[in-house]
Symmetry: C2
Subunit: 378 residues, 2 copies
């Protein structure tokens, strides 16, 4: 396996966007290709989850190859619910590292805001095992993570304020990110009195419905931000099969793989983007990534250890909660932010960062990917 690095970044503004699925993806891809110096591209991978259900559009890989003028190159869409983008990146990275392709374009895209909330909720539930009883019983994702949050507070002594602290932190980061969906200032008080979604989760604790696309270019060698490791794991797709509701096995296992491959541990990570689909999920993820002990994540949040000046700034882009969550694009947009941090050109730049980590979750723990990157350390 040879080295591979990220040499191009592109991303649309996230939020409500009148552009089509295809147009969003083209915008992000063009920006990434220009940023990479318009290299010859050998293949394209696209992370997308709901193109068929919400936009009546599949074959997005082939469409992009044609529209971008890349010739008859192989094009592949990958799906793993909300981890579709991270999985696309992993495939592309391995194909470059293995020498099958020299340079690959990886895009993530989703178009959601044109559909009704009911339709979106129904489509997102295709990320549960609907042949068993979850979909039939009416469980939704906010429902699942609401249960988890209640149990977490009961077990470990966290309070609703700690969920709000995650949401405030990510909003404060998003306020400085012109590509984030939400830039309006908020407060603990506003968050705690916002419209309830599933107790204890309110409106600000849940990632929004978003349109958007992100893209990166990976190439062989060390000319960009180096990919140190790629981890991917699966976990139980059914709530009743999860042995411990307060740990996400797929995050732990994908992180274990990535740390091992990189020869690094959690203490070596300088900056993180992780999958805060709900405020609760961020607290679980900082624990499952090994950044903080199980059951202490809420204390780390309280002490400011997950922001600038703390142990490891988390979701400096604003995270899914405030940057937005165009599902297929999310995993790629996380990598855009981490690579920007390691290039020292990010919004909410963290000083002196050299090693960054991006973690992307799918379903209620059905998939997780972890990628670790190394900047030049300039």
């Amino acid at each position: 396996m040879r080295n591979a690095s990220v040499i191009g970044l592109g991303m649309t503004k996230f939020g409500k966007n009148e552009a089509s699925l295809k147009s969003l993806a083209i915008s992000a891809c063009k920006e990434a290709l220009i940023d990479a110096g318009n290299p010859k591209v050998d293949a394209i991978y696209v992370g997308n989850f709901l193109g068929g259900q919400l936009a009546g559009q599949e074959i997005i890989g082939s469409i992009l190859a044609k529209e971008l003028g890349l010739g008859p190159i192989p094009a592949t869409k990958t799906e793993g619910a909300c981890a579709s983008g991270g999985i696309a990146f992993r495939q592309a990275y391995h194909m470059v590292a293995a020498g099958i392709y020299d340079t690959v374009l990886v895009a993530g895209v989703e178009k959601m805001t044109h559909a009704s909330t009911n339709l979106v909720t129904q489509a997102i539930n295709s990320a549960m095992d609907n042949d068993s009883n979850e979909g039939i019983s009416g469980l939704t994702f906010p429902g699942f993570f609401g249960v988890v949050a209640n149990r977490y507070m009961y077990e470990y002594g966290a309070k609703e304020e700690h969920l709000a602290m995650v949401a405030v932190k990510n909003r404060e980061y998003a306020m400085h990110n012109p590509k984030a969906q939400f830039q309006k200032e908020t407060s603990i008080d506003e968050i705690m009195h916002a419209r309830p979604i599933t107790s204890p989760l309110g409106l600000f604790h849940c990632s929004p419905i978003t349109d958007g696309a992100a893209a990166v270019v990976i190439t062989a060698g060390n000319t960009g931000v180096k990919v140190l490791a790629s981890g991917q794991a699966s976990g139980p797709p059914l709530m009743q099969d999860i042995p411990d509701l307060l740990s996400i096995e797929a995050i732990q296992e994908s992180a274990r793989q990535a740390y091992e491959e990189a020869g690094l541990g959690p203490d070596d990570i300088d900056v993180v983007e992780l999958h805060d689909c709900f405020a609760m999920t961020e607290i679980l993820a900082i624990e499952d990534l090994g950044l903080f002990e199980k059951g202490t994540g809420w204390k780390a949040v309280e002490q400011g250890l997950t922001k600038h000046g703390g142990k490891v700034p988390v979701n400096t882009s604003g995270g899914l909660l405030s940057r937005g969550h165009p599902i297929g694009a999310t995993g790629i947009s996380q990598i855009v932010q981490i690579v920007s941090q390691l290039r020292r050109t990010a919004v909410n730049q963290v000083e002196g960062v050299r090693i960054g980590l991006a973690q992307n979750l799918g379903g209620t723990g059905a998939f997780s990917t972890v990628h670790i990157f190394e900047g030049s350390g300039v």
Copy 2:
């Protein structure tokens, strides 16, 4: 890159099946794992196209990992319309050849017959570029290949009888395949007087709506039927962008790659499964694969060169036309048949075969994969 070979095969009966998407996939996977001797599996890839739209079910990769008891292994769905299966196989093969995984399970699955024909037709049209004018103008896949057939007959002198000869051949093969959707005998006369779909294509010239799943196990080394080469290409997803309606660029390019990688040419191929989504497509494909000169495929069919005793038997499983076309499963079921041929255990076994080829198409030429396999030559 190290050698990799196919050591396990599984397939449900194709046709109308009351089982769910998940159950179909599990059946095929279990059969393939048993056939492979229940090896430790490092990852799973699944080709699926319409799970979200027709069954409200995505995350099928993770569901299979859980249901099959494979542990927290990486699981990935790939999509490239009707080439979703071929693309899944290609990813899996390269990950084994590159040494990322030692043994990978590859499944393809689709559940279609429970939905109305209108809904299925609409869902299949997500394999066109609907942001441009094709979907909007109401073009369907039978419409496209009907236009192609008319033009082919005009240019090269083929007659409707030649389309019927393809359909009869594939039905005759399917009559001996207990897993095929259609086993009832037919005749040129019945085919030519069947219900018209899009002139000149009638009912027997169009692949059916089908439920089914297929699976294979790939492992490092030479213990099974060896994978010699993998080609994948894209082509214009819009009819008006296709320079020559009578050639499918993605088939030509994917074949070119595969022949080059294998160090073989079309004359070295002993048996072929190809993507006869319509009778016309089989004639184009035998030409675009280089098995016969452009414009002469219909003569080859007339002379019996694509069946037992001819130059190269094509679609000995019955093909999409009569084996059936559960979209995501098709590419894998083609490989099941080719590997069976090279194991000398196939339905409609061809004598003395050593090299086989499987070609899987997506859209109106948006994707094609070509895989070449080598048996032990016993």
